[in-house]
Structure formats: structure tokens, C-alpha cells
């Protein structure tokens, strides 16, 4: 039976200055459907949804929901119209309780003559949390006491408790552990079963195909096509996203290449209270050493520990020449680079230019008698950014204007400009579209060939299998398994050591 049309988007348009973010996009979505929405970074998919949800005002065109034209000024209007969004970043507010976050902007049911009934609000919020199976989260407690994942779960409750007609999930799964993702998929299925609709945005094409009914593709702000998930493969989607055939070499294709015996970095009995428990390993020249595991297994702390960024680390991190790495300046001066998983907060300075981000660790090298030459810095940054094929207006452009993929390119450009020999990359392709991912994988392979050593920390098993020479699987802060690159190595082998 043909499903009833729920949402019609007619000629939706949006410009940000000279950037035409969404260009005359028209599509329809049915009720009781999970629609995937994919595209490269800068394709307009997030902007399209953010207009639907009231985060941005509509530049042109109309949304028609259930036959009614929508007039949305902000998220509350969108909520009232039956549209909710779960965002990629932190969507809850510190300084408020869990209940206050859930009902923020919708306190009216608990207001009597201007007086707020906090008890009733807490009670209702706790009921919701219990219904969702999140009873360990207490409604009356300040949200600051909960970690990122729990706060995301609260956000999910906030977005869905009003049973919106359309639920937009914007690249949320990258922030969740496996357990968290399972919860989210359950909710998506429940929404669909209820005859309501989910728009699911993700860069994980496998996930998109597994959990959606149909997939719409945007490219460069324009609508390309909508396909049935059951009838296409990931390669088909990639082709639609990019507009051409992606080369078969997405990941590395070489197997059996020996790794050098030369040890460049030794990590010996490193512990970080509550995170790492006596891990030891060696990194070889020209090796891509992968770290995998569940979200809280401690692998992300490995990167910080190696870079000297863990203030309470025990054990030793030593270079081949015996230099102990105990702080960040020593790490940088001894050619170690680090790209954090939390790119926007820990790797990049958003309110600064591309140029200043790239030259930052290299200023001493670029200075002449302690003086800096602006033109020299600009030339240097320009060269590094272009080497990475960064899509930008110029190195004077602020990083905050760039897409996630281009921000990551700026991070890599910085460290390559510094000439780092050891690169610690934590989730290097998180939130990045397939074309940029491919470029980063190619770069990693090239760096390996040039004798640089890479530690790649990733929650994406295909990425580990595809790129690493050796994979260390972590569990509960310890190394629980070690695998050498082999065409027969599969996801189940790694998962068995993770759980």
C-alpha cells in the first residue's frame, strides 16, 4: 500500500553570503518512513534539515506538512508543528536540571499563574525517562553530573517525547557508543511503527542502508535522487554523492607487506586512573597501528597519553632515542602530532583563520631572529592547505566557516607542515564525507610509504580493517587483543575482543 505523503519540500533555498548552501531542493517524504539523507560535507543536507527544524530561517521555498504550509521562526515553532531534531553537538544546557532541559521552551503545562511547579515537572520527566528505559538518569539532578552519552540520551527524550511527526537525527550516532546507537535505532523503529517519520543523516553508509527505507542524496546543495535502501549498495550511494565512480582503492589494498623492525615509540605500563590500566606496546617506523574498542574502553585516552596531554599518567612513553614524552611541548618538539576526536574543541581554533591554525606549532621554525613575516606565514599555510586540497576561499578564511572534512584537512595540514614523524589520529574521519575520507586514507598510505608512523584510533571497524597494519583491541582500559593485517580478518574477530 502506498504510504501517505507527510512532508513536501518545494524549491527550498538558502544562501549564506556567497555560499549557496541549499539550491532549489524539492522532495517528498511519506508518513511511517525512515528516510536517509546523505551527501558530502557541504552538500546542504544539514542546512536543509535545520531550516525544517527552525534553527535557520528558510531562504526560499516552502515546507508543507500534512497539507499545511509551515511558518517556522524557531525550534519551538517547529516542535509545536510536530518537528524535532537531535543535533550532532551538545544539545542540552549546563546549569539546568535534566527535567528543565527536557521541557525547555515548553514549560507551560507546569506553569500556574506564572509560577512553575518544579515537582510536577520533575515527576513527569522521570516518568518519561523510565518509559524510555533510562531510569538511572534522575530528572531533578543537574545535567552537568552526567556524561556526554547520557546527556545525548536526555536529548533524545526531549526530541521524541512529544511524539513529533518528523524526527530529524543529524549525525548523532558518531557520538554514541554501540549501546547508545542500539537505543537510538530502537526509537527510530518505534517512530516508524507509530506511523511517524524519521529523517536520518549519517556519513556511515552501511548504517544508513541498514536502518532506513529510502535514501535521498544531495550534492553541492542540489537534490540528486531518492533510492530504496534495499535496492542499492554503498558504492551506488557513493557514486550518487560524488557524481563519479569512486576508485576501487578506498582503503588500502596491500596485504602481507612487512613492517619495519625499527621501533620509533615505546609505551611501557602506561596507566591513567579510571581510563588506562598498564598498557604497553611499540610503534614501528612506517607502521599504521590501529586502536579499536567500544567507546569507553580507554582507546581515546591512549592518544592523549602519548602526546603528553594526560596530567595524571603513570608509566613511560619513550622515543627511540630515549626521550621521555611527559608534556605536549616535548611531544611537538620531538615530532609527534595529535588530532583529537573532539576536533572543534581540542584540535582547531574555530575563531581563527586557516593560516593561523596551520602555522601555530611551526612559528618558531618560521620565525627569523624571533620575528615573524606575515607573507611567509601566509605562503606556508597556503602551500600546506593546497597540498591537502582544502576547499576554502583563502587561508584568511575563518575555520568556523569550513565543513567538518575541511577542518580535518586543516588539522592534518598543520602537522604535515610541522613535518611530524609520528601522527596520532583519533577518529580521523569522524563526521567526514566519503570523498574526503578517501583522500585522508590515501594520505595515510602515502605517509606510511614515506616512513612516517601513524597511530589511528577509530570506532569504525571497517576503517581499522582497511587501513591498519596491526590492530590492538582494547577493553576496560587494557589491551585485550592484537591482530595483524590479513585479508581474512573480519569484524567479528575484533568485536569478540571488544565486548
Amino acid at each position: 500500500m502506498e504510504k501517505k505523503t507527510l512532508l513536501v519540500a518545494e524549491h527550498i533555498d538558502k544562501k549564506f553570503g556567497i555560499t549557496h548552501a541549499v539550491n532549489d531542493v524539492s522532495l517528498t517524504i511519506a508518513a511511517g518512513e525512515i528516510r536517509g539523507l546523505i551527501g558530502e560535507n557541504g552538500s546542504g543536507k544539514s542546512t536543509f534539515c535545520q531550516m525544517l527544524c527552525g534553527i535557520y530561517t528558510i531562504g526560499g521555498g516552502t515546507f508543507i506538512l500534512d497539507g499545511q504550509e509551515l511558518h517556522i521562526r524557531n525550534q519551538v515553532d517547529a516542535n509545536n508543528a510536530g518537528i524535532a531534531i537531535i543535533v550532532q553537538e551538545m544539545g542540552t544546557l549546563s546549569g539546568l536540571t535534566v527535567a528543565e532541559n527536557i521541557y525547555l521552551g515548553h514549560e507551560e503545562p507546569f506553569m500556574h499563574a506564572g509560577i512553575k511547579d518544579s515537582r510536577a515537572m520533575n515527576r513527569e520527566a522521570q516518568k518519561l525517562l523510565d518509559e524510555y528505559g533510562f531510569s538511572r538518569i534522575k530528572a531533578g539532578v543537574m545535567i552537568d553530573h552526567y556524561n556526554f552519552e547520557d546527556r545525548k540520551l536526555v536529548e533524545i527524550v526531549k526530541a521524541t517525547y512529544m511524539k513529533p511527526k518528523i524526527l530529524v537525527i543529524d549525525e548523532t550516532t558518531t557520538a554514541l557508543s554501540q549501546n547508545g546507537r542500539m537505543e537510538l535505532y530502537k526509537i527510530m523503529d518505534a517512530v516508524r511503527a507509530d506511523g511517524r517519520t524519521v529523517i536520518f543523516i549519517s556519513h556511515d553508509l552501511g548504517e544508513v542502508l541498514a536502518h532506513t527505507d529510502t535514501v535521498s542524496v544531495l550534492r553541492d546543495g542540489e537534490y540528486i535522487d531518492t533510492v530504496a535502501s534495499a535496492e542499492v549498495t554503498e558504492d551506488d550511494l557513493k557514486r550518487l554523492m560524488v557524481g563519479r565512480e569512486i576508485g576501487s582503492a578506498y582503503y588500502r589494498t596491500d596485504y602481507g607487506r612487512p613492517v619495519s623492525d625499527e621501533v620509533v615509540l615505546t609505551v611501557d605500563k602506561v596507566s591513567v586512573p579510571g581510563e588506562l590500566d598498564g598498557i604497553s606496546f611499540e610503534l614501528h617506523r612506517g607502521e599504521i597501528l590501529g586502536f579499536g574498542g567500544l567507546s569507553e574502553c580507554g582507546m581515546h585516552e591512549v592518544g592523549k597519553a602519548i602526546f603528553g596531554a594526560s596530567w595524571n599518567r603513570e608509566g613511560s612513553v619513550k622515543l627511540a632515542d630515549g626521550t621521555e614524552i611527559n608534556d605536549i611541548p616535548t611531544a611537538i618538539s620531538h615530532s609527534i602530532a595529535y588530532a583529537s576526536k573532539d576536533r572543534d574543541n581540542e584540535s582547531i581554533i574555530l575563531n581563527e583563520s586557516i593560516r593561523n591554525n596551520i602555522v601555530l606549532p611551526s612559528l618558531e621554525d618560521l620565525a627569523s631572529h624571533s620575528l615573524l613575516n606575515g607573507r611567509k606565514l601566509t605562503r606556508f599555510a597556503d602551500e600546506q592547505a593546497k597540498n591537502m586540497q582544502t576547499k576554502m576561499q583563502g587561508v584568511g578564511q575563518f575555520v568556523s566557516d569550513l565543513s567538518g572534512g575541511n577542518k580535518q584537512k586543516v588539522v592534518l595540514a598543520r602537522w604535515l607542515g610541522k613535518g611530524s614523524d609520528i601522527l596520532v589520529l583519533d577518529s580521523p574521519t569522524r563526521g567526514i564525507d566519503v570523498k574526503v575520507k578517501q583522500a585522508i586514507y590515501a594520505l595515510m598510505a602515502e605517509l606510511k610509504d614515506r616512513g612516517r608512523s601513524i597511530i589511528m584510533i577509530s570506532e569504525e571497524i571497517p576503517e581499522l580493517l582497511g587501513m591498519a597494519d596491526r590492530i590492538l583491541v582494547m577493553k576496560d582500559g587494557k589491551i585485550n587483543g592484537e591482530f595483524v593485517r590479513d585479508p581474512g580478518l573480519g569484524e567479528q574477530d575484533l568485536i569478540a575482543k571488544m565486548v
Binding site: N74, Q75, V76, D77, L93, L96, E100, I115, S118, M142
Partner: protein, 316 residues
């Protein structure tokens, strides 16, 4: 840390424990050093009374500090509102006094909030400018003459009047924070203004409300100040600036203890600790300069212990 302790940490009970520990600590230090002339019950009562004026101001400042704003016009408001209250009291008695102080405070808050919203410049700059203007207005209104509150209108100069009025102010703040949207929205705006706006919160409206509430509380502070001192002289030359800082110290305590859900208690106890330190040094016969050094250091230590970000966290 034991599991029980970890569970306790972050709860209101823990917050109360921390405050009590601080009070006990400072009390013990001075009681040991100078047992005969410090810390008897009637003296403690005296320390409390001299601190509650600033606690009231600290409560008012909380509304805007929590939103990341600042206000240097508090002192000039105290002066101007006091003067207007005293002038009106001559014709209308207590009603004129109270309405004059509160009304003037509210008007000033409305003016500051409106200017801030319209001019779109940092609050610090707006309020410094207003401070200079309000000081001059106070001189003009006072006619260059010291304003003295009539003896028969000094109910709020000491107990029980000052305790009652301050208590009402604290109750009002408790009500606003816990039973209206204002507290929630001020916290939301302070946490992430962009997200708050996206939640449909009228950010400008609530910033205006924040300033109005602050200066209303400063109006209450003016009643207590002029009743306490009996007179008020209008002064120019940014001399009112020094009145801004004592209530602000209490606000810092309030913000530090916000995560325990007890800002009002923290403000009152914080000001009491500062008053106790001041009196303790007087009891020791120490000069004012040492007192100020230690008060400042105590504030740094206390806020660092309660509000310090983890190592490696970003602090501005």
C-alpha cells in the same frame, strides 16, 4: 575515592557540608588566635548583620553574572536610590522611603537593560558609563547636601528590621529561581545563548529582566545601606565603584555553588565568612591592608576549591 563519597559529591548535602566546613575553619582560626574577643554568639550575630546588606546585593548580581554579564552601576544605584528614598521619606514616611528606593532601583535596572539591548555593546562598558551618569544625577538630586534618614524611620538599621527585609529578599530570590521560568532561562542563556535562543527563549527579554531584578535587589540594598549608615552623600569621580565589589564576592560564592543547587545559601554564607574574616582581623588588631590581602586570598581559595575546572580544562 569511595563509591559513597563519589555519590555524595555533587549533591546538595555535599554543598552544605563544604560551606559548613569553610565557616568552621575560619571561625576556628580566629577563635584559637584571639579567643576572648572573637566569635561569641552575640558577636557572630553582629557579623551576620553587617554581612546581609551585601548578601542582598549579591543575590541581585547573581541574575546577570550567571548569564555572563557584569554591572558596575550597582554602587551608584545604591547611592541614588538611597537619596531618592530619603527625600521621599520626608513627605511620605516609610512608604515613600521604601517605594522610592525600590522604584528608583527598578527604573535604573530597566534603563540599563534597555540600553544594553539597544546599543549591543558589552555590559561592562554600558554600566561604567551609566555609573558616571548616575553619580552626577545623585549629586544633582541631592543638591550637594548630605541626605539623612530621620531617626523615626530607621527600622531597617538593625535587628529585627534588617533581618526581616533581607529575609524577604532571600525568599523572593528563592521563589524566582525555583518557581518561575526566569531562573531556568537565565541559566540557559548563560550556558549557551545560541541554543537558548533556538529553544524559543527571548534572550533580550530575559537579559532585560535580569538587569531589572538586579537593580530591584539593589534598591533593597539601598534601604538597608542608608538605614545602617543613617546618611548618604552623593559623590562623583567613580567613588561608588568600591561599593560594587563586596556584593560581587558573595555572587562568586553563589555561582561556585550553583551546581549544588543552593546559590542563595552560598551567597549568604560567603558574605558571612568575609565579614567574619574582617572582624577576626580587627579582633587581632591587624591593619586593614593585611585584612584585604587575606580576604582576597580566602575568596580565591574558596572559589578555586569549589569551582575549579579539572586540570587541562579551559578556564577564562
Amino acid at each position: 575515592m569511595s563509591t559513597r563519597m563519589q555519590k555524595l559529591k555533587g549533591t546538595k548535602a555535599y554543598g552544605y557540608l563544604m560551606l559548613a566546613a569553610m565557616v568552621l575553619f575560619f571561625y576556628a582560626v580566629f577563635k584559637i588566635l584571639t579567643p576572648d574577643n572573637f566569635g561569641s554568639p552575640d558577636r557572630l550575630y553582629s557579623y551576620l548583620q553587617s554581612s546581609i546588606i551585601y548578601s542582598v546585593g549579591g543575590c541581585g548580581l547573581y541574575f546577570i553574572v550567571v548569564m555572563g554579564l557584569f554591572d558596575f552601576a550597582v554602587g551608584s544605584n545604591v547611592v541614588l536610590s538611597s537619596i531618592i528614598g530619603v527625600i521621599l521619606s520626608r513627605q511620605f514616611g516609610y512608604i515613600g522611603f521604601v517605594v522610592g528606593c525600590l522604584g528608583c532601583g527598578l527604573l535604573i535596572g530597566t534603563l540599563i537593560g534597555t540600553l544594553y539591548n539597544q546599543l549591543n555593546v558589552p555590559s561592562m562598558i554600558v554600566t561604567v558609563g551609566l555609573m558616571l551618569i548616575l553619580e552626577c544625577v545623585a549629586v544633582i538630586v541631592a543638591g550637594g547636601v548630605k541626605q539623612t534618614l530621620a531617626p523615626e524611620l530607621r527600622f531597617f538599621s538593625g535587628a529585627p528590621g534588617n533581618i526581616i527585609l533581607a529575609g524577604l529578599a532571600f525568599l523572593l530570590m528563592y521563589f524566582i529561581l525555583n518557581y518561575t521560568k526566569i531562573g531556568t532561562y537565565c541559566n540557559a542563556i548563560g550556558s549557551n545563548e545560541f541554543t537558548a535562543k533556538n529553544m524559543g527563549i527571548n534572550v533580550k527579554k530575559y537579559k532585560l529582566i535580569g538587569f531589572m531584578l538586579l537593580h530591584f535587589f539593589v534598591g533593597i540594598m539601598a534601604i538597608l545601606t542608608v538605614s545602617y549608615g543613617t546618611t548618604m552623600t552623593a559623590l562623583t569621580g567613580m567613588s561608588t565603584m568600591s561599593r560594587n565589589f563586596q556584593p560581587l564576592m558573595g555572587t562568586f560564592f553563589g555561582v561556585a555553588f550553583k551546581k549544588y543547587g543552593m546559590p542563595i545559601t552560598a551567597i549568604v554564607v560567603g558574605e558571612f565568612i568575609i565579614s567574619m574574616i574582617f572582624s577576626g582581623f580587627v579582633a587581632l588588631g591587624a591593619p586593614t591592608t593585611i585584612q584585604n590581602v587575606v580576604t582576597g586570598a580566602a575568596l580565591l581559595v574558596i572559589v578555586a576549591l569549589t569551582a575549579r575546572g579539572g586540570r587541562g580544562s579551559v578556564v577564562k
